[in-house]
């Protein structure tokens, strides 16, 4: 292998039992700092279906390959954007996906900063937002899924990390 290419190949970092609580902490910290809001744990999380018509996603590459996504309904996304901007009544529609994308980006950055071996060896993509709930995300690669269900002002908000094996 070309030595330049070889030097850039990162040893993969594999998930362990700490990753689910770390994803939860990372998500809660972002909302505490940027929105001055406490997220609560979603009750009966295992019995609930992940849903919502607004999804923000950030790709991860390097020592960890996968996608971190945040999914909630559009009204929740609007309230999050309003809270971030400090005026819940005066949010331009274009600012709603932008706000959720930034939240997703910060959760991903905060999460990888907590995992040894990822801080310097995992890059984040520019975020993407999908609107609408009539879709199914199909990953070609074999993935492991870490899911955290929380509530923002009593509405569900899902944080999912799909990791390529």
């Amino acid at each position: 292998m070309n030595p330049v290419v070889a030097s850039k190949v990162q040893a993969p970092v594999r998930p362990d039992a700490t990753w689910t609580p770390l994803l939860e902490i990372s998500s809660k910290e972002v909302f505490q700092i940027m929105l001055q809001t406490e997220l609560s744990n979603l009750p009966f999380v295992g019995e609930q279906r992940i849903s919502g018509d607004t999804t923000a996603m950030v790709g991860l590459a390097g020592a960890l390959r996968g996608v971190l996504s945040i999914r909630c309904n559009s009204r929740t996304a609007e309230r999050i954007a309003g809270r971030m901007l400090g005026s819940e009544e005066d949010v331009h529609p274009s600012e709603v996906p932008d706000a959720l994308a930034e939240i997703c980006n910060m959760v991903a950055g905060n999460f990888k900063a907590k995992i040894a071996g990822l801080v310097d060896n995992c890059m984040l993509s520019v975020p993407t937002v999908i609107r609408g709930d009539d879709y199914e995300l199909v990953t070609i690669a074999d993935v492991e899924l870490i899911t955290v269900g929380l509530t923002y002002e009593e509405s569900p908000i899902w944080f999912c990390l799909a990791i390529h094996r």
């Binding site: 972002v30 700092i33 940027m34 706000a99 930034e102 991903a108 984040l124 520019v126």
Partner: protein, 128 residues
């Protein structure tokens, strides 16, 4: 006393607003605040006028914050303009790279107004 003219560079318009609001919440007496959505727009703004401080994201489409910083340092009138990186990148190598080409410091997102003030106030004090 002259109020500082500031350029905020981020591909997210929401984040540009939050950075400006945080600067004001931190009690900083700002002059004109100009926004740019990526490094290319920021270079255009820099060529049109002098700034006292630039706050720039790293991870942006079209031209990222590192490339912007490199280009900025080739513009004679902007060589000495202090730049603080505001980024989700916890990567030390990216931060070290930015510092090695002249960034004055960095703020990691998410941030509080106090963290912004801690980084920015000393730079603006020197300017006075």
């Amino acid at each position: 006393m002259k109020r500082p003219r500031i350029l905020i560079v981020d591909d997210s318009s929401v984040m540009r607003k939050i950075v400006e609001r945080s600067l004001r919440q931190a009690g900083l007496d700002l002059g004109e605040v100009v926004e740019a959505g990526n490094g290319i727009e920021a270079l255009t703004a820099v060529r049109e006028g002098v700034f006292d401080l630039i706050l720039s994201d790293i991870n942006m489409p079209a031209m990222d914050g590192i490339e912007f910083l490199r280009e900025l340092r080739t513009i004679e009138e902007a060589k000495g303009t202090p730049v603080v990186m505001v980024t989700t990148e916890g990567s030390e190598s990216r931060v070290v790279e930015a510092l090695s080409i002249g960034a004055k410091g960095y703020i990691r997102k998410p941030f509080t107004p106090d963290q912004i003030k801690e980084r920015v106030s000393p730079i603006l004090e020197v300017m006075r």
